[in-house]
């Protein structure tokens, strides 16, 4: 299939998909993943100014996997923890920001799981890429003096959250076309192209539904380019983190390496990051990310 045909065909499908998605968003009919009820409840507590970790602990206990994650993080070397903590003490140690990140990370990871084997493999790769981008974005934000490290982490983690949802929608459409109408659907290069064109709008819809902070939503919407009007904007850390993750091999589908290299070159100047620092970040990323998967 030649590139012109892919572009022409994907433009048609993307246009159709975009219309469908926007219509569904406008009518509040887009089936978006919801956050588990325990996470919703905890997030509600965190929005209150006088929340107590005891109340959150009582809620979290209903979700043993999440409670175990909190305990594991609180007793990890990263936060200098000891092994004897109850859940409320563990929550106090990781703090409200750390808990919020952990909850959203848990919620997001479920979006990247699919019963369909084809999507499951792709979603797993996107999730690995997202975790790498998150870790890099937080480091870059710290290096540029930003205090929004957690927001950068979330922005990186969720910047591609629309992709598995679009993939599921495409699969649904494919099944209808092939099985019901017995017609041929688009080929895989068109799939990837379509996903690239529409996933950000879906991601933004998820962010709004999950009531994510605006700076995180901005990362999902705008991290394709740098914001030169505000060099310290979190979106710039995520844009750079995204490019570095791709350079480190965390990619899904074909990647335009010239494009990625251009993003890194621009990012060095926008963020004022030196080559020494970049080499260190890139060198560390595989070791760090490999330890983050459950």
């Amino acid at each position: 299939m030649n590139p012109e045909t892919i572009e022409e065909e994907s433009a048609k499908v993307a246009s159709w998909m975009e219309k469908v998605i926007l219509k569904r968003v406008a009518e509040d009919k887009l089936v978006l993943p919801s956050i588990p009820s325990v996470v919703v409840k905890c997030m509600e507590f965190l929005r209150q100014s006088d929340f107590s970790f005891k109340d959150i602990a009582a809620t979290l206990e209903k979700e043993p996997a999440l409670a175990a994650r909190v305990l594991r993080l609180a007793t990890s070397a990263a936060v200098g923890g000891s092994s004897k903590l109850n859940l409320a003490e563990a929550l106090a140690r990781i703090g409200s920001k750390g808990l919020k990140t952990l909850l959203l990370e848990a919620a997001a990871s479920k979006v990247f799981v699919s019963k369909d084997p084809e999507i499951a493999v792709a979603a797993r790769k996107i999730w690995e890429h997202s975790v790498a981008v998150a870790a890099l974005s937080r480091d870059i934000a710290a290096l540029t003096g930003s205090k929004s490290g957690e927001a950068a982490y979330l922005g990186g983690l969720l910047h591609d959250i629309g992709k598995p949802i679009v993939a599921a929608m495409l699969l649904e459409a494919e099944r209808q076309v092939v099985e019901v109408r017995n017609q041929k659907f688009v080929e895989s290069p068109v799939w990837i192209e379509v996903m690239g064109r529409v996933h950000r709008k879906v991601g933004v819809a998820v962010a709004e539904k999950w009531k994510l902070p605006e700076e995180v939503t901005a990362c999902i919407r705008d991290c394709n380019e740098y914001d030169k009007s505000d060099r310290q904007a979190i979106v710039n850390s995520v844009c750079m983190g995204n490019a570095l993750a791709k350079q480190a091999g965390y990619v899904v589908g074909a990647v335009d390496i010239d494009d990625v290299n251009a993003l890194v070159m621009i990012g060095r100047s926008v963020l004022g990051v030196t080559d020494d620092v970049l080499q260190k970040l890139a060198g560390d990323v595989k070791n760090r990310v490999s330890g983050l998967f459950d």
Binding site: E225, D258, D259, N261, A262, L263, M265, I266, R268, S269
Partner: protein, 386 residues
């Protein structure tokens, strides 16, 4: 002198960049658009192009494309307010070496210019001869003879009087390497081709301001110490030279004393005093007897620095091992007396380790006989009596 061409339609930007280029010791060349830029490239040898993107007549990418089509490989840094990745990716395909987003910090411009020029020099060294469309090939090697690329030299000297280099060579130890040049241009070429430990510049080179040359050389050799070589004078011009950016001075005409001091300072000052936490081991003296005062004077200076470190590390006692020290009447007690006073001021107890000869010398003075002296370091640490 390296020439840097700035192609930008903004007079304000050109003016800011020109200032930076001159401060770096390079020669600025300017053009308002891509067409003018191509003309300037054809008129003279240009070592680096700073290129804007959006310009009237011919834009940056257009100029870059025509440069590369004609075989011109001059390094290019894109200096622009354009941050779209598609534009930069296109320019990268045409061969830009780096990118700077406006507004920029002077340090970013300086560091990227140096990195690109340095990389171009290294590539030129490897290729030997550049293509005809690129910058003119640079002379390889110093006046001492043909050099190898990135050869290490201990001392690089620039003085228009040939005898200065010859004289210095006779005073330096044989094992030390030296490259000598009689002009600023040749010296700069040497700096590009070699890695130097110390650079020595005549303070009055013809047609060149030595402090400007020093700045250029510091950019090329950031780790080298740069010394001025003025004539001896009744005025103390050391401060003046340091204010101009030199690290130190070495007065002409040289003598063995000044060269020995220079060697101690820049090449061999670690063996006089070896510090292991709060244990200071004094190294032996090997040389002519008339050099003893310089040895002690140097030792005093090193003691001062070592004491500060020990105080910073919260040691409440310091042991000085004098086993290897030259046992000289007066010199040793005087030095120790000063050191004991400084130690006391810092709340640090002083203990000595030394031979019977040392004990005898120190006992002759009221002020030093009270300093505890031990036969070995172990005894000093345990506080056993001498």
């Amino acid at each position: 002198m390296l020439r840097v061409l700035t192609v930008d339609d903004s007079r304000a930007v050109r003016s800011i960049v020109r200032k930076q280029i001159i401060e770096m010791g390079f020669e600025p060349v300017e053009a308002e658009d891509g067409e003018q830029g191509l003309v300037k490239l054809g008129e003279s040898q240009i070592d680096l192009v700073l290129l804007d993107v959006t310009m009237p007549v011919l834009d940056g990418p257009g100029m870059l494309a025509r440069m590369r089509e004609s075989g011109n490989k001059t390094p290019v840094i894109m200096l622009t307010s354009e941050s779209k990745r598609s534009v930069v990716a296109g320019a990268m395909k045409l061969g830009i070496d780096d990118y700077i987003l406006k507004p920029f910090k002077p340090e970013e411009l300086k560091s990227k210019m140096l990195a690109v020029i340095g990389a171009a020099d290294a590539a030129a060294d490897e290729e030997g001869v550049l293509d005809s469309g690129g910058p003119a090939p640079r002379k390889n090697g110093g006046e001492d003879g043909p050099g190898t690329s990135r050869q290490f030299v201990d001392v690089l000297v620039v003085d228009d009087m040939e005898n200065v280099g010859r004289k210095l060579r006779t005073l330096l130890p044989q094992h030390m390497t030296m490259a000598s040049f009689t002009s600023a241009q040749a010296g700069l070429a040497g700096c590009r081709e070699k890695t130097c430990r110390v650079i020595m510049l005549d303070s009055e080179l013809p047609d060149v301001t030595s402090s400007v040359l020093a700045r250029q050389m510091r950019l090329l050799q950031p780790h080298a110490a740069i010394l001025a070589m003025p004539l001896r004078s009744t005025n103390d011009i050391t401060k003046e030279m340091k204010d101009q950016g030199f690290d130190d001075v070495l007065f002409k005409p040289f003598n063995q004393d000044s060269i020995d001091d220079f060697l101690l300072k820049y090449f061999d000052n670690q063996e006089i005093l070896i510090c292991e936490d709060n244990l200071f081991k004094v190294g032996g003296f090997h040389g002519k007897e008339d050099r003893i005062p310089i040895y002690f004077s140097r030792l005093e200076g090193l003691f001062g620095e070592a004491l500060k470190k020990a105080a910073s590390a919260c040691y409440d006692e310091v042991i000085i091992d004098l086993s290897q020290a030259p046992a000289r009447q007066e010199k040793l007690p005087r030095m120790l007396l000063e050191f004991a006073e400084s130690s006391k001021q810092n709340g640090i107890e002083l203990k000595l380790v030394g031979s019977q000869d040392v004990k005898k010398i120190l006992s002759a003075f009221t002020e030093t006989k009270s300093i505890p002296l031990f036969a070995t370091v172990q005894e000093a640490r345990s506080g056993a009596s001498a």
